[in-house]
Amino acid sequence: MGVIYILITISIIVAVFFLYAFIRAVRSGQYDDDYTPSVRMLFDDELKIKSNKKPIQTIKEKQV
């Protein structure tokens, strides 16, 4: 049953690692702005479709 020592130690180490990761993320300012990234991640795809079309059309006009 000595394995319990190893298992618990590992589980604590994993937990400490996550705590460290969390603190690092906060320190780097990742949580300072929780809105913009959610918008930003939607942009890239949009851009790729657009860039190869020269005559500029907006979605709005396409619907008309």
Binding site: I8, F18, I23, Y31, D33, D34, V39, F43, K50, K60
Partner: protein, 807 residues
């Protein structure tokens, strides 16, 4: 095709000025140019995320010349190295995803910009650029040309590196780590089975739990020890004393339990308690990043201004370096930073920053002009009389009120309760200890510590943060933005409300003028226009601006009867303008409307009606408030409107006119000396002193992104008539707090019965603690939402409130 609105900015297009380009219609050349820039650079995606997201670019010629000045640029930069500069600019127009998109693609528009990143809640863009390829001035001009003019003020110049305090988040992270792991590790012991497996590893588990609890005890909870120590030192018993006491006792008793093998201790409850209480603190800290509650004149004033040197050349000079006798050049839309004398022939100055009144004031050469005004129109020259800090307006900030820390004057409701709670708790603990000590010393210690542990006012301490935090959010959704949770408690205590007049109970939008009566022909208008030209009465000036320009004629006779009207003769025609008494034609008595009657050649034509400029719902609001509060109107203007206001408002309303900024401050002070809790509602910089002095200063704003003086709360002007509701709601919030205090006391009583009788097991503690927390949190959340819904229907029409269309 488009529906008559500008493709770029969405403003309705005046048919005559419509510009069709690329099959899209634009309201002006500026908007068209922005579209051109975007389409040339393949950036028309901009218009996909949101319809008409843009703003018309403003004329900025010469406005940013000060960015040529190296030392000013250095102050603005966040980071500076040979080939990399970083700058953060505040751009008020940021309001939608299109804005984010275009601003993050700046590098496509301009060589030399490496990256740009938007922080949407703060409305800031952070630009990294290469100073060898592009200057900051160029970037700012680029931003202006696409309609995203940054706002750079004296405040940017003064502010140092901002240090963001994230320690609360770290503490919560650590506490949660400890709490979670300890909970897991103490699970086996909850069942208290005497089994080989558990007995074998008991020591290992317990000491591990002890070790994990250390960071939470020493780091996460450290704020409570400091606060408790401070409160003991200052002789005020606040809620942090029983909390700190509870935590410390819990830790010591648990350690003793483990060392002597009495039991598993209360480490799980202790860490849980620390975690939940920190969470409450975080919840209470609702901040509005895009608003600032600490503004003074610095946020309004420019960094630099153009100075004319003796040899006639121009240079930009930092405003703090302006000295008496300097000659300054003020361009269109520029702010006058110091008091001085006008040298140019004429100036029209908009003092809306200061007074809230949007009507421009004409000044002639030699007139004194005061700091805080904005020149509208041509470029003017002025000579400086006082430096920035000695000017009339800025002197207000040397008053003591602005030096004080506001936090000190408030005593929170939780602290008040704990003044009774703490001694009662200690008393109970000691009495039980004395009772048990005659029976069994061991139990006596157990009971003593158990009482302190159970009664540790976790639920009590959580009540206020969660209630107020939730109320803060609900109010924020209704466009009433408060600085912090303490303001809500203060709001509930208010008994006198002081209003500023101009810009607060009146709107500062230009009021519409309508004409009633027989239609006037061109000739009549010509006569009217020329008669009005000579008059300086405010109504005449406004009417003069309203009537289209006409050929200039010189009146042969002109007479202005003060308080009545104008009599003029032009080319043999007689014109009479003024009040109904003056014209002796009608005996009308509609005081709510201001009218100018017109009579030409002895024939009554009709009247110009100046529509009510008071905010909608003003009368109802005052009627509603007058039942519960002392109402006072404190105005910087003369008492010209006294009659109208007296008619409109309840008779109990006190009207005070001709108040200078310092006098407003003193007036509030006087009220407070009489023991009143004063709420001041104002808008301009001239109210800044009164707002700071009052128990709560609320600043009312047509556009919350535009600037408002330092205050405790910012109210969107469209919500003006809801003030009554907000006041009521704050009272309901306090009621909720008291109800849940009752609830948490009930929990304490239950827990104490266990404790006093010496039966508190760690398991019971571990159940009671989270259970009471959950009950309290859900109770206050439900109650505050219920009251918000019940008191008055919410406004559901959320406009993109942040968009500021140039009117």
């Amino acid at each position: 095709m488009n529906t008559g609105n500008c493709f770029h900015c969405g403003i309705e297009i005046n048919k005559k000025e419509e510009i069709i380009y690329d099959e899209k219609s634009f309201c002006c050349n500026g908007c068209k140019t922005v579209y051109e820039i975007f389409s040339q650079n393949d950036l028309t995606c901009y218009y996909d995320f949101q319809a008409s997201p843009g703003a018309t670019p403003q004329d900025i010629q010469g406005k940013y010349d000060f960015l040529d000045n190296e030392s000013i640029v250095t102050k603005l930069l966040e980071f500076q190295e040979d080939t990399t500069h970083i700058v953060s600019l505040y751009i008020p127009h940021i309001h939608c995803s299109s804005c984010i998109w275009i601003l993050e693609n700046l590098q496509k528009l301009q060589q030399g910009i490496n990256t740009s990143q938007v922080n949407f809640p703060e409305k800031k863009v952070r630009i990294t650029f290469n100073p060898e390829e592009i200057s900051l001035k160029k970037i700012v001009e680029l931003l202006c040309s696409i309609g995203y003019e940054p706002y750079i003020s004296l405040e940017n110049f003064d502010e140092g590196k901002k240090v963001i305090d994230r320690s609360l988040i770290y503490k919560i992270g650590v506490a949660f780590f400890c709490f979670g792991n300890i909970m897991l590790l103490s699970f086996p012991e909850y069942f208290e089975v005497e089994e080989y497996w558990i007995n074998e590893y008991r020591g290992f588990f317990r000491w591990l739990i002890f070790a994990i609890s250390l960071p939470a005890f020493f780091y996460s909870a450290s704020g409570y020890y400091v606060s408790a120590y401070k409160s003991i030192k200052s002789g005020m018993l606040n809620i942090d004393i029983p909390i700190a006491l509870g935590i410390v006792v819990m830790f010591i008793r648990s350690t003793v339990d483990i060392v002597f093998d009495y039991g598993q201790g209360f480490f799980d409850s202790m860490t849980g308690l620390i975690f939940f209480m920190l969470l409450g603190k975080l919840f209470q800290q609702k901040t509005y990043d895009f608003l600032s509650f600490e503004r003074d004149y610095k946020s309004y004033f420019p960094i630099a201004i153009t100075k004319i040197l003796a040899d006639g050349s121009e240079t930009s000079v930092q405003v703090y370096d302006i000295q008496k006798g300097d000659r300054l050049l003020i361009r269109n839309q520029e702010l006058i930073p110091v008091d001085g004398i006008l040298i140019s022939e004429k100036a029209s100055i908009d003092y809306s920053f200061v007074t809230g009144e949007a009507v421009t004031i004409e000044k002639k050469s030699g007139d004194k002009i005061f700091a805080g005004g904005k020149q509208i129109g041509k470029v003017i020259e002025m000579e400086v009389l006082f430096s920035v800090s000695q000017s009339y307006l800025t002197q207000l900030w040397s008053n003591d009120v602005f030096q004080k820390k506001i936090d000190i004057k408030h005593k929170t409701v939780t602290d008040k309760i704990s003044r009774y709670f703490t001694p009662a708790l200690l008393g109970l603990a000691i009495i039980s200890f004395l009772y048990w000590i005659f029976i069994d010393t061991n139990t006596a210690f157990n009971v003593f510590t158990a009482i302190l542990i159970v009664a540790c006012p976790c639920a009590l301490a959580l009540t206020a943060p969660f209630t107020l935090g939730n109320v803060l959010r609900i109010l924020g959704k209704r466009k009433f933005y408060l600085k912090n949770a303490i303001v809500i408690e203060q709001l509930a205590k208010v008994d006198s409300i002081v209003f500023d007049k101009t810009g607060t109970i009146t709107t500062n939008k230009k009021t519409a003028i309508t004409y009633e009566g027989t239609p006037l022909n061109d000739f009549d208008l010509k006569l009217l226009n020329n008669a009005l030209r000579g008059s300086n009465h405010p109504l005449s000036r406004r009417l003069y601006e309203f009537i289209p320009n006409q050929i200039k004629l010189i009146p042969t006779h002109f007479e202005e009867i003060i308080g009545k009207g104008i009599y003029a003769e032009i080319d043999g025609n007689t014109i009479k303008l003024g009040s109904s008494q003056f014209l002796k034609t009608m005996t009308e008595n509609t005081h709510k409307k201001t009218k100018v009657h017109v009579e030409i050649n002895g024939v009554y034509k009709g009247s110009y009606v100046f529509n009510n400029q008071y905010r909608e719902g003003l009368e109802q609001l005052f009627l509603q408030l007058s039942k519960k509060y002392n109402l006072i109107i404190l105005s910087g203007d003369n008492d010209g409107e006294r009659k109208i206001l007296e008619k409109m408002l309840p008779s109990t309303t006190k009207l005070v006119f001709n108040q200078k900024p310092e006098q407003k401050l003193e007036y509030i002070e006087e009220l407070q000396k009489q023991g009143k809790n004063v709420m001041m509602i104002g808008d301009g910089l001239n109210d800044a002193g009164a707002l700071a002095q009052s128990n709560i200063g609320i600043s009312i704003s047509e556009n919350v992104n535009v600037f408002s003086p330092a205050c405790d709360g910012i109210l969107d002007a469209s919500q003006f008539q809801k003030i009554g509701f907000f006041m009521n709601y704050s009272k309901k919030a306090m009621k909720t707090i008291f109800m849940s205090f009752g609830l948490s006391l009930a929990y304490n009583v239950v827990g104490l019965t266990y404790a006093v009788s010496g039966n508190l097991s760690p398991l019971v503690a571990a159940i009671i603690m989270p259970l009471s927390t959950i009950t309290i949190v859900s109770f206050v959340t439900i109650m505050t939402n219920f009251y918000a819904r019940n008191s008055q229907p919410a406004t559901r029409n959320f406009q993109p409130a942040t968009k500021n269309n140039p009117a």
